[in-house]
């Protein structure tokens, strides 16, 4: 098979514990992360950005083999922006917003993921997972806080109550280390979950899918195309989309009663692709296979994501069907939620109970992802004759009737959860329009900041923030400016940014000029309105006027200090 990608081999180095003869123990770290996939790497980078030294252990020495997770959604890109990794991803990846859905011979409808203007990042990019991992590894290696250890395999774990003890195996023998907190990002099969004897509950879907990555020069538009029951692959579904380097991902539903080994053989795969391309382009098209895989999937999650000093993230904690790109995207959101909390707990400015809210918030998000991906799966692969009849009726009506178009479910593509039930939210006491409720991830908007930021989300994140609306930033009165300065000097600092049409805020406060009025529109801002924003860019609280005591109370609530 052809290869457009050269897999890097990362160098194993003798761990200091072995080099210094401390194999028996002695190394103690604040955080160890296990698994250098997208989620573990993201966690480590985020911790480093928060100034936390972190040991990242991985049992391998390269990136993902095969393209695997290829869709990265707007929210994941916004998180990567916060971590300084999004530019490379977006530059290399293929941005797309339009999806088309076909039923048999006909297109029944199309959608646009990001119909709203004035957002920094696109609805979705397609990028082979190995590129994402390569960029994250490079970023991790540039951060001195990260001690990235390849070919270090965790073979034993025990939670000692006040710390976690690990036994790690290498080519130079085994060694022991201890950590205050263990972030588990070791994937769907999670050896650590097994070592701890923890359950993950859910169901396996009785269906098989063939993924083929195909290299071809094609002038198809950069769109996601989904077929229900196409003439070239009757009674099943097919998905086509484009990745970087002229690699195209084609996903064929195969049904349960096929032999996965047989289906992976080129002599079996190539005719399928030829039939599809022939039907579509009505011509012979040259292509080469790059990677083929046959997979099944499970929809399941752990009951809780925190177990004492172990924090489970990504596929180790929850798995969904691939329809909707809710795997890697939700794992990246897990660490986004976890890391700022871990930082406050390590600093001693928040109690360990704050980490229970990591589990609560991300379990709720996982349930939403599981629900949406299960619904997509049930629509795409109906389980009974009646279910199939309804599905085909919806598809038949979709061309002419808008209500039916809304019911067509070829994957509800990853969007972040609105954490409406979170105990960290301070409920509204005043009336607001729009979706920026407590618990919502922030909507982006163009701004102009004194520090050169061009987007609202570039200006937010990594610390608590108070957005304060004042048409002329220079009109912020002295008492308010003093109150904001005091908030910035608290044990958990809250920085104030004045969102204004013009002017410059008093010293100590930042200014964001709402250049297109989108912040006002999306956050329903009026003079005096303020929003308390968490370090993960979620809304914690909002008011129509600034009262420092209320801000402190909401901050205490958002950090389990109430």
């Amino acid at each position: 098979m052809l290869s457009t990608y050269q897999y890097p081999k990362f160098e194993y180095r003798r761990p200091p514990e072995i080099a210094e003869g401390r194999e028996g123990g002695g190394g103690r770290y604040p955080v160890v992360v296990v698994g250098a996939g997208p989620v573990g790497l993201t966690a480590a980078i985020d911790l480093a950005i928060h100034g936390v030294p972190v040991v990242l252990l991985d049992n391998d020495d390269t990136v993902s083999i095969g393209s695997r997770g290829v869709c990265y959604a707007k929210r994941a890109l916004e998180i990567m922006d916060r971590l300084g990794c999004a530019e490379e991803m977006v530059a290399k990846g293929v941005s797309w917003n339009v999806g088309r859905t076909f039923f048999r011979e006909q297109e029944v409808f199309n959608f646009n993921l990001c119909p709203e203007p004035d957002h920094h990042r696109p609805g979705m990019i397609n990028l082979q997972q190995y590129y994402l991992e390569e960029y994250l590894v490079r970023r991790a290696q540039s951060l001195p806080e990260i001690d990235l250890r390849w070919k270090n395999n965790v073979i034993a774990v025990s939670d000692q109550g006040d710390r976690v003890a690990l036994r790690v195996e290498t080519a130079d023998g085994a060694y022991s280390i201890e950590t205050d907190w263990l972030v588990v990002a070791d994937g769907a099969r999670s050896p650590i979950r097994h070592m701890m004897g923890l359950d993950i509950e859910g169901k396996i879907f009785m269906d098989r899918f063939l993924i083929a990555d195909v290299v071809m020069k094609a002038d198809y538009p950069t769109e996601r195309w989904f077929w229900f029951d196409p003439p070239f692959h009757p009674n099943q579904s097919v998905l086509l989309h484009r990745q970087a380097d002229n690699v195209w991902r084609i996903d064929f539903q195969l049904g349960w009663n096929v032999d996965p080994e047989e289906e992976k053989q080129p002599e079996k795969v190539i005719p399928r692709i030829k039939a599809m391309l022939g039907w579509h382009a009505n011509e012979e098209r040259e292509f080469e296979l790059e990677w083929v895989s046959v997979y099944t999937f499970q929809c399941r999650r752990m009951h809780e994501f925190r177990h004492g000093r172990l924090l489970f993230t990504g596929d180790a904690a929850h798995q969904v069907s691939p329809f909707g790109a809710r795997g890697a995207n939700s794992g990246i959101q897990d660490t986004d939620n976890l890391v700022w909390k871990l930082k406050l707990v390590l600093d001693g400015t928040a109690p360990a109970r704050l980490l229970d809210t990591y589990s609560e918030e991300r379990v709720a998000a996982a349930d939403e992802n599981l629900m949406n991906s299960t619904r997509s799966t049930d629509f795409i692969t109906p389980k009974s004759a009646t279910s199939r009849t309804f599905r085909n009726a919806v598809l038949g009506l979709a061309k002419d009737y808008p209500f039916a178009r809304a019911l067509v479910n070829s994957g509800r593509l990853s969007v972040p959860s609105v954490l409406v039930e979170s105990p960290l939210n301070t409920p509204d006491t005043e009336v607001f329009a729009g979706n920026m409720v407590p618990g919502a991830p922030m909507d982006d908007a163009p701004v102009d900041s004194t520090r050169g930021e061009k987007w609202l989300l570039q200006a937010a994140g990594n610390r608590f923030l108070l957005l304060y609306c004042m048409p002329d930033a220079g009109d912020v009165d002295a008492a308010t400016a003093d109150a904001c300065t005091a908030l910035a000097a608290g044990a958990i600092p809250v920085e104030t940014l004045v969102v204004a049409e013009r002017g410059t805020a008093p010293a100590g406060l930042g200014t964001l000029i709402d250049v297109k009025g989108r912040v006002r529109e999306r956050y329903d801002l009026k003079p005096g309105t303020c929003y308390l924003i968490r370090p993960d860019q979620h809304v914690a609280a909002r008011w129509r006027s600034l009262d420092a005591a209320k801000v402190r109370a909401a901050l205490a609530r958002a950090t389990c200090n109430a």
Binding site: N372, R375, D378, F379, S384, A385, T386, S387, F390, A393, V394, G396, L397, D400, Y401, P402, F403, A404, A406, L407, N409, R412, V415, V418, V420, N435, A440
Partner: protein, 74 residues
Amino acid sequence: MSLNTDPNFFTPGKRYFRAFSPGDDFYEALIDMHRDLSDEQSAMANARLILLLANHIGDISVLREAMKVAREGV
């Protein structure tokens, strides 16, 4: 009144943040209604459901319009 073919599903008192959610809530409930039924039982359940909904709608001109659309497409 004429037949409404725009998206129209909602749950009273429930706030939806994503446009696809109310329709998906309905569709899941519909498919769930048929869980563990034989094809014959499902056909009967569907007939009963249509009768109940038709009575709820009441306006026979709307029902005739829906029947026309339903029959045309099969």
